[in-house]
């Protein structure tokens, strides 16, 4: 891996987060290299989402510092977009209005917004659905709208919290390909939280493994040296993919087992 001495997009320094008596994550120190696609994996309830929320600024750490491109984070992270696990579209706005929301907030002119939003509608394959309301769309289509909504504001950092976990396997594979297509060449940093190791490996440059909660820590970082661009539908038959999978799985397995013991 060609290591460029660039500043990391996100740095966590000795970050701990407690919820009253429950410690979600403890003493995490991590840096997320800029311009990379990074997945955070761990067993359910390990505090992955907590880490992501702290990077977004939606949650403040109990102790420790979150730095975004070298600057300590105060309040919401202005350079990040966040794609939620749940449905976060505004049900009273149409597809077009949902997608252009970020631009409305930034006070762009009507004309610019229409042009940009129409472009994004096409880019995520929703041409002809501009005037539909979210309830009229399928789960996959709603995720496409959410993706465009997050991406249209051109964030430097794209945070995704198990965004496709509610989709069926095939829709999911399509959405994963879409996200890779959008990301490729964009030089944006993606932090992708998932409990699905296969998904993490097939998308990422590097996989971070968190231990089972409570008081979750970093177990390890695993560089993924699969070549890009990747064809996701064929990736899972490649021997290197399996090698990586076995490698990380043996560690993840431990964590999953110990998370069982706690229940």
């Amino acid at each position: 891996m060609a290591d460029t001495p660039t500043q990391p997009a996100v740095t966590l320094k000795r970050v701990t987060r407690r919820f009253s008596t429950y410690t979600a994550v403890e003493d995490i120190t991590l840096d997320f290299p800029a311009g990379k696609f990074i997945s955070v994996v761990g067993p359910s309830g390990c505090g992955k989402s907590t880490v992501l929320s702290m990077i977004a600024g939606l949650l403040a750490p109990t102790s420790g510092v979150v730095e975004i491109f070298g600057e300590p984070l105060k309040g919401l992270n202005q350079r990040a977009s966040y794609m939620f696990q749940q449905d976060a579209l505004l049900p009273w706005k149409t597809v077009l209005e949902n997608i252009e929301l970020g631009l409305v907030i930034r006070g762009k002119s009507k004309f610019d917004m229409l042009i940009e939003a129409s472009e994004w509608i096409e880019r995520v394959g929703l041409k002809g659905f501009a005037d539909h309301f979210p309830y009229q769309l399928s789960g996959g289509m709603r995720k496409r709208v959410a993706m465009a909504q997050c991406w249209i504001v051109q964030p430097d950092l794209f945070l995704m919290d198990e965004p496709f976990s509610a989709l069926d396997v095939h829709t999911r594979l399509r959405m994963e390909s879409e996200i890779l297509r959008l990301w490729t060449g964009s030089e944006k940093t993606v932090i992708f939280v998932t409990h699905d190791l296969e998904e993490a490996i097939s998308l990422s440059d590097e996989v971070f493994l968190l231990s089972s909660g409570p008081a979750s820590r970093v177990v390890g970082r695993y560089p993924i040296d699969l070549s890009r661009p990747r064809t996701l539908i064929d990736l899972k038959t490649e021997p290197r993919f399996h090698e990586l999978f076995r490698n990380i799985w043996s560690d993840l397995r431990q964590e999953v087992l110990s998370s069982y013991e706690r229940i």
């Binding site: 939606l58 990040a80 149409t94 929301l101 409305v104 309301f133 309830y135 504001v153």
Partner: protein, 265 residues
């Protein structure tokens, strides 16, 4: 589509048949002296009275009074309710302090306020508007409060992450969320506004449908009472239709909006 159209048509036929059967039975009963004409009047006479009112034009003044009062009480009550609902939903300490007072105020039966409002605001429309406002305010207030409080957390976070300021958050999320609650109670609050102003008129007024009914009762004119009720019923049906239209237009983003024929006004 065709099947549901046919179903709707057959429901309409049944609705009309039920009304006609009821009116015929009533008419028949009073003509055969099963029902005493003095106490129960007759549909034909009621219809005659209503058409007489319409032909002479004497009814319009009363209709106008009643529906102006209802519209005013709805507007003022809804405005106050939305304002209070928003402020209290955003200021939870204030809401905690005011909560018991609001509950107590809401538990007062409105009818007992009518004589007091008569003293305060006189026989004109404002005593009725005041009564209507006390009814509409609480319905709208509770709904607005709930709408703001229960606005989806994830949607709020999403909009904040997109960079929204507090003002933009209110505009894009909290107002639409509260409006959907308020609109879903529109039928109830407008219906209550009409009931309240008619009760107010009934207890003391110089015009309005409630006044008309009270006058007729005063001289044992049952035909006049039923005719007044009929005019009110027609008015309420018309208003209900308009509200349905409005609701369908404004809440078109909601899945499975009920059809007007399936909805009780």
């Amino acid at each position: 589509m065709n099947g549901s159209n046919r179903k709707r048509a057959s429901i309409l036929v049944w609705q009309l048949m039920l009304a006609v059967a009821f009116l015929l039975a009533w008419e028949w009963g009073s003509r055969t002296n099963v029902l005493d004409r003095f106490f129960f009047s007759r549909p034909s006479e009621v219809a005659q009275r209503v058409s007489q009112w319409i032909v002479t034009g004497s009814i319009w003044r009363h209709v106008l009074t009643t529906f102006t009062e209802a519209a005013l009480s709805f507007t003022l009550g809804a405005f106050g309710g939305v304002l209070f609902g928003f402020v209290l939903a955003r200021a939870s300490d204030l809401a905690a302090v005011l909560e018991p007072h609001i509950r107590i105020a809401n538990s007062v039966p409105r009818v007992v306020l009518a004589p007091i409002f008569l003293l305060w605001f006189g026989l004109g429309i404002w005593s009725k508007v005041a009564l209507g406002v006390t009814v509409v305010f609480f319905v709208v207030f509770f709904n607005a409060y709930r709408g703001v409080r229960e606005a989806d957390r994830v949607i709020i976070d999403n909009v904040r992450m997109l960079g929204a300021s507090e003002r933009q958050l209110i505009r894009h999320v909290l107002i639409p969320s509260a409006l959907s609650w308020i609109f879903s109670s529109l039928h109830v609050s407008i219906g209550l506004a009409i009931i309240a102003v008619v009760v107010g008129e009934y207890l003391g007024a110089s015009s309005g449908i409630g006044y008309l009914i009270a006058q007729a009762e005063g001289v044992f004119d049952t035909t006049g009472v039923f005719a007044g009720m009929s005019v009110l019923a027609i008015g309420v049906l018309v208003v209900g239709g308009v509200v349905n239209r409005l609701e369908r237009r404004l809440l078109r983003w909601k899945p499975g909006q009920l059809d007007s024929s399936e909805k009780f006004t």
